[in-house]
Symmetry: C2
Subunit: 195 residues, 2 copies
């Protein structure tokens, strides 16, 4: 998605070996019109997938997920992060290990909002090692729902989580895939064929 890639080049800040800060338009300050275009792009790519729910994780996934749900005319669920096992019979739970933040957390979705009647599009702001997506896919499977695919705003291709998931036959649509941030220069994967 050209508009997104341009924004990343203009406003993204490389902070350390593998950290890209996009606080000015996605993770702290949000550009709602860019989010609308991103949501529209996800909706276009998944328009024939029979999506009934969009699912994301708090916090930064909410904005792109919300506009994807808006354009697909379906509800949006955000999984909540929890520090410990809640052992609540009314929730689905899964464990996520964050390599970036070097910590483990649990994600929780109330059972009332996901069932085997659902076909789910997962949305997240970043895909790195893919742990968050794995946790969300686990929750979808617990619900007996169908996983249609994922829509990712920025994929860190050099961390290979996306390729690992694709090699299992899962559909992962990333609007910008970064294959390298070495020498403070962002190199995008040529994914025109997917666009």
């Amino acid at each position: 998605m050209e508009e997104l890639k341009q924004r990343i080049l203009e406003k993204g800040v490389i902070a350390g070996v593998d950290i890209l800060r996009v606080d000015s338009f996605l993770n702290h300050q949000i550009d709602p019109h860019l989010m609308d275009h991103i949501g529209k792009e996800f909706a276009d790519r998944y328009k024939d997938a029979g999506i009934t729910k969009v699912v994301t994780i708090e916090t930064s996934g909410i904005a792109p997920a919300l506009f994807a749900g808006f354009h697909l005319n379906v509800p949006v669920i955000f999984a909540k992060k929890a520090k410990s096992i809640t052992l609540d019979s009314r929730t689905y739970e899964s464990k996520v290990v964050s390599f970036t933040k070097r910590k483990e957390y649990r994600i929780v979705v109330e059972q009332a909002y996901l069932s085997e009647a659902d076909t789910v599009l997962l949305i997240d702001d970043f895909l790195a090692q893919g742990q968050a997506l794995e946790g969300l896919i686990d929750i979808i499977q617990q619900a007996g729902a169908k996983f249609a695919g994922a829509g990712i705003v920025i994929e860190k291709g050099f961390q290979h989580g996306g390729d690992k998931l694709r090699s299992r036959g899962l559909r992962i649509e990333s609007l910008a895939i970064i294959d390298s941030m070495e020498h403070h220069r962002i190199v995008f994967r040529d994914n025109n064929l997917e666009e």
Copy 2:
């Protein structure tokens, strides 16, 4: 806002003396089209206020704030919750005491995104005691920005935070004000004059 009040009556769950759960359309599962209508309503009410930034707090304020920013054509900032003082010279910080959750937390906004050139509309999902709004107003003042007013989705009128702020001359626009939830029955304040 009639559509919102109807949704609260149909889908809201009174859980305890002063807790209203709206997890099915606002706090866990989100109805993006209702959020669009809510954002449009806030934008209409503040269209002549010269708003340059919409500010909210993670997590549940993000959805209505995002659509308010969309319709006002301005960026949206969400203050991040932090457990401890970060002592970062690049951030504005304030303390919020949550009566509902009986805990204290700090909210943080990067200085880069708010300045004295800004006129701010605060958005939040709930207004009860008003502590979160007080913290956000504190941050706006630290930035030297102008506080135009607040837009609240659901105000718990019986907890009086909104009236306290209004009595100080602050503009607080709530789309639904609940004056009582006694006997498991929701009574809205007649705020048609404000609509």
